[in-house]
Amino acid sequence: MIADKYAEEIEGILARFPHKKSAVLPLMHLAQREYGYMSEDAMREVAGILDLDPTHVLSLAGFYSLFHEEPTGKYVLEICNDLACALRGADEFVEMVCRKLDIPLGGTTEDGLFTVKGVMCLGACDRAPMLQYNLKFAEHLDEEKFDNLIAYLREEAASGEEPPSVVEKIAAYAKK
């Protein structure tokens, strides 16, 4: 239970907001850091702390693509396939990525390293095709650049070096 395990941190988060309800996103990040994704239990826990109906938390998890409702790989590759990117070949790019990693859109590789998601506009339409991983943008992508990215990430994972996770980064921003 995050309520017990992170009692102090939660108290700190709650203290930053005039209304309890407003702390829902930071608490969801905290829950996702703990469990890796927003499981049903995680949503109920967050809702319980804030006296919200869990449907509220589910709704936010569904709206924001940085929240995952299924377990994910170590790296989540969020490819924009919204309109502008689609016009610049995002759909073909997604197809290529899925073929290369041998997973469907939304799936996770067997080694547990990569999850591929299609997301809405990330504000880099002029540099499509593009994707986001760990809150970093990779832009003007083609097959070669994608291969390089994957190779690089595999290396990073093999080195055992832990990149700061997305949620940690966000938690750090939130703290500032």
């Binding site: 449907t55 589910l58 709704s59 569904g62």
Partner: protein, 850 residues
């Protein structure tokens, strides 16, 4: 200063109050600007863009701030801001709105094209088809053709249960959020929400059970498409095949106005059946809403196989079918055989006509005043006659500066629509004062809450009234602050109920509260519109039973009797010890409800009923009655609104209306020819009950134009909530309205002190009972017998959440589940079981292991 604003809409000048939205201003002159997300009972959000119109705003000179005038000396208009959403833009002085220009038409057809690009267009199998705003507006404003490739459409799930009562068709949803906003803004059950984005946006729920709200059915009415449907109607019938029949809900004293949709169908063997129930607009009663008990709890009437169909007489120990004349002759003969040792007990769900005829049969025909309600819970009908909520009131008008007091009642469970309207009044600024033994869902909206100790309700009310007498004596006590608020309120409405108090206590509470209303701080509250007392009666027509004189001490119209008859308690005693020899029970089940152990020494027992209840099984004659859905009549709500209901389906079997059976028995005991129509009996009522003077079936059927205008030709606003063409009813005036009410000299009562653990039975909307248990669709929602208590008390008794235990209450053993919550110390709350009077002493028995 004028609060009115003048504007022009399509060349027509209109004057409306400041702040009115353009869409409503247009509606007032019959100009229907198309909408989807807008609903007059919800906050506008401007989500769907269907209501785009051109708006010209008067131009001002930047330097001088003066209006820029054209050659005719009129302010020049600036139409340059682009199209505006009429549902979010308030009117302004001198603006001009254009709703039929090319840019507007283009916007309307474009929005429709966009919506239809991901709509399945399965109108031929859609429940809403035929009464669907999307269908209608597409016909009116859409392109006749499509530019979409049909097979390119996104397909989504079509049968998503949001719980077992409401189903979602994801493809049909146009994401207007009416359902979500209704649940959040109106009823404060935010258990459904959007999930995902864009075309994949869907409605989800995580509550347990799914869509956990007593109001869920209303979302199917206001959904502008067929995305939300009810489990008991979906795929059941097409709208144009069904006939509407105006009716009333029979489940609580609010008296929600309803419409049955009925049809005759092969599927049901050629019978007329009720396919669905929907609210019928009455802005004084239920506005556009009803609770799910009313919507789903009607199946007992027309579609229950358990309904009686023919009269029964006991022969050789067996109840056998006989003809009406045999049954009536037998009943009439027996009832006359025992002189004054005869008594009658009635239920309080029957119509005024039935109840009037009942007392007439006993008083005039059998010369006995031994009549009463079988289950007496709440007293004070006579007090209500003096200081009841004044005619001309509307709870909707209460707000800032007003006060509402709720004593000993959980409105959310007992009378949901009153809960909603009280909550909304509090949200508009009315001070809400709640007195109860425990917390209820009203506390959240209350400005003053007093939880008194078990058994001390009368005392708390007496204190409140005494504090109000001594002006300005706010000694810091929460109750005295509440009293001051109440005494100084512009308007004061008081609800009182029977939770944790017994019948005698409720009589005293009513009198105290009457005194509070009659207190002359300023004008006194009683007698003025939007002021007065509202009893939270146990049933839909308890008020009518009092009015008709189904009471041992009052005749019709509260005429006090010189020599009262026996009351229910005395009748039960008389039946047990042989002083009463013949008993007639109408629409009640005293044996099943534990009020009567068995037939006792009765020589004759007649039961008039819908079902073969436990009491009926012991009877000598059983007279099968029609349910309210099979005939017409009137009920009187807790606000004393006399309202009509109409026949919806044909009678089941050979059944007759209760009043008719009583009149035919009456004829046999010398009361003359029976009346042949309910309306004629009502005319008799209007003569005998002075308060009903001037009412008849025509006056009760009168309607006036209501706002918002739902269910009109356009049908935009409410989906299929029905316009009220059948009557708004009439409220009878309390004595205080003509200055004829004086304060009560209330007798001092001894304060109850409880030793040991006090137990109070609390109401739950879906408490299993003869009627509601017949609705299969509600089976999973029925309240289980449950004991709630706080953690300390539970620990002391070594009880844990979810334990199944035996509880001994007033001699009865009930198996109940343990639930641990914030119940006050020393108290146990028992819910999900039939009524238990007052504050009992409980004994916890063994844990039941299975």
């Amino acid at each position: 200063m004028s609060d009115l604003v003048k504007l022009i809409i399509d060349g027509v000048e209109v004057e409306v109050p400041k702040g009115t939205l353009i869409v409503d201003a247009a509606k007032q002159i019959g100009n229907d600007i198309p909408v989807f997300c807008y609903h007059p009972k919800l906050e506008p959000v401007g989500m769907c863009r269907m209501c785009l119109v051109e708006v010209g705003f008067p131009m001002r000179d930047r330097a001088t701030g003066e209006f820029v005038l054209d050659e005719n000396g009129k302010p020049k208009l600036n139409f340059g801001r682009g199209l505006q959403t009429a549902c979010t833009t308030p009117v302004g002085e001198g603006i001009e709105v254009r709703t039929t220009t090319e840019p507007v038409k283009d916007a309307q057809s474009s929005v429709l094209e966009f919506l239809l690009s991901s709509h399945p267009l399965d109108c031929p199998i859609c429940d809403k088809g035929g009464e669907c705003p999307l269908q209608n507006l597409t016909m009116q404003h859409g392109h006749g053709t499509t530019r979409m490739v049909y097979s390119d459409k996104l397909h989504l799930n079509k049968h998503v249960p949001l719980g077992e009562l409401i189903y979602l068709d994801q493809e049909r949803c146009i994401q207007c959020a009416r359902c979500i906003r209704f649940q959040e803004e109106v009823v404060d059950d935010p258990v459904i929400r959007f999930h995902n984005r864009g075309r994949r946006t869907e409605i989800v729920t995580m509550s347990d059970p799914g869509f956990n709200s007593y109001w869920s059915g209303n979302t199917t009415d206001i959904c502008p498409v067929g995305a939300l449907t009810t489990a008991d109607f979906r795929f059941g019938a097409r709208p144009w095949e069904m006939k509407p029949a105006a009716s009333l809900c029979t489940h609580c004293p609010v008296g929600c106005n309803t419409t049955f949709s009925t049809r005759r169908e092969a599927k049901s063997g050629g019978k007329h059946v009720i396919k669905r129930v929907m609210p019928r607009q009455n802005e004084w009663v239920n506005e556009l809403w009803m609770c799910d008990k009313g919507r789903f709890g009607h199946h007992y009437a027309a579609d229950s196989a358990a309904r009686l169909k023919r009269p029964l007489i006991r022969k050789n120990g067996e109840l056998v079918e006989v003809s009406w004349s045999e049954a009536l002759d037998f009943a009439a003969g027996k009832l006359q055989q025992y002189g004054t040792a005869v008594a009658g007990l009635s239920g309080d769900r029957l119509s005024n006509e039935d109840l009037f005829q009942f007392q007439k049969l006993f008083r005039k025909g059998l010369k006995s005043h031994n009549i009463d309600l079988a289950a007496r819970r709440l007293a004070g009908g006579d007090v209500v006659a003096k200081v009841g909520l004044s005619s001309g009131s509307n709870l909707k008008e209460l707000g800032k500066g007003d006060a509402i007091i709720v004593v000993a009642s959980d409105l959310h469970e007992e009378a949901p629509v009153w809960w909603l309207r009280v909550k909304q009044a509090a949200e508009r600024g009315a001070a809400l004062i709640v007195l109860n033994v425990r917390s209820t869902r009203l506390d959240k909206y209350a400005s003053h809450v007093r939880h008194y100790a078990p058994g001390q309700a009368v005392d708390a009310v007496r204190q409140l009234v005494n504090f109000a007498k001594v002006e300005g004596d706010s000694n810091g006590d929460a109750l005295s602050a509440a009293a001051e608020t109440a005494a100084n309120a512009n308007n004061l409405v008081i609800f009182y109920g029977s939770e944790g108090v017994d019948y005698e206590e409720t009589a005293v509470i009513a009198q105290h509260l009457a005194n509070l209303l009659l207190m002359k701080n300023g004008d006194g509250h009683a007698g003025r519109p939007n002021n007065g007392l509202i009893p939270v009666w146990p049933h839909n027509n308890t008020q009518g039973a009092w009015d008709m004189g189904v009471h041992p001490a009052f005749g019709p119209g509260y005429a006090a009797l010189e020599t009262p008859g026996l009351n229910a308690a005395a009748i039960y005693e008389g039946a047990a010890n042989g002083e009463i020899k013949a008993l007639f029970v109408m629409g009640a089940d005293p044996v099943g409800d534990g009020l009567m152990a068995d037939r006792g020494q009765l020589e004759f027992l007649a039961v008039q009923e819908l079902f073969l209840t436990e009491t009926a099984q012991l009877a000598d004659v059983v007279l099968p009655a029609q349910s309210w859905a099979e005939r017409e009549g009137t009920f009187t709500s807790g606000e004393r609104r006399v309202q009509r209901y109409y026949p919806a389906v044909l009678p089941i079997g050979d059944n007759k209306a209760d009043w008719q059976i009583l009149a035919e028995i009456g004829e046999r005991v010398g009361l003359g020819k029976p009346a042949f129509a309910a309306s004629l009996i009502f005319n008799e009522v209007a003569k005998a009950v002075t308060q009903y003077k001037g009412m008849d079936y025509r006056t009760l059927a009168q309607v006036v134009k209501q706002w918002p205008d739902v269910g009109g030709e356009d049908g935009y606003y409410a989906g299929n909530a029905q316009k009220n063409r059948a009557g708004l009813g009439q409220v009878w005036a309390s004595a205080a309205e003509s200055g004829d009410a004086v304060a009560y000299d209330v007798a001092e009562t001894a304060v109850h002190v409880n030793d040991g653990l006090a137990l109070i039975r609390t109401a739950a909307l879906y408490t299993p009972g003869t009627l509601i248990s017949q609705s299969d669709v509600l089976a999973d929602r029925l309240a289980q017998p449950t004991i709630s208590l706080n953690a300390q008390d539970a620990a002391q008794m070594e009880l844990a959440e979810g334990d199944l235990i035996d509880v001994n209450v007033a001699g009865d053993t009930i198996a109940a589940l343990v639930h641990i919550n914030n119940t006050p110390a020393g108290l146990m709350l028992l819910s999900g079981v039939p009524y238990v009077a007052g504050t009992a002493v409980a004994q916890i028995g063994q844990e039941i292991k299975d």
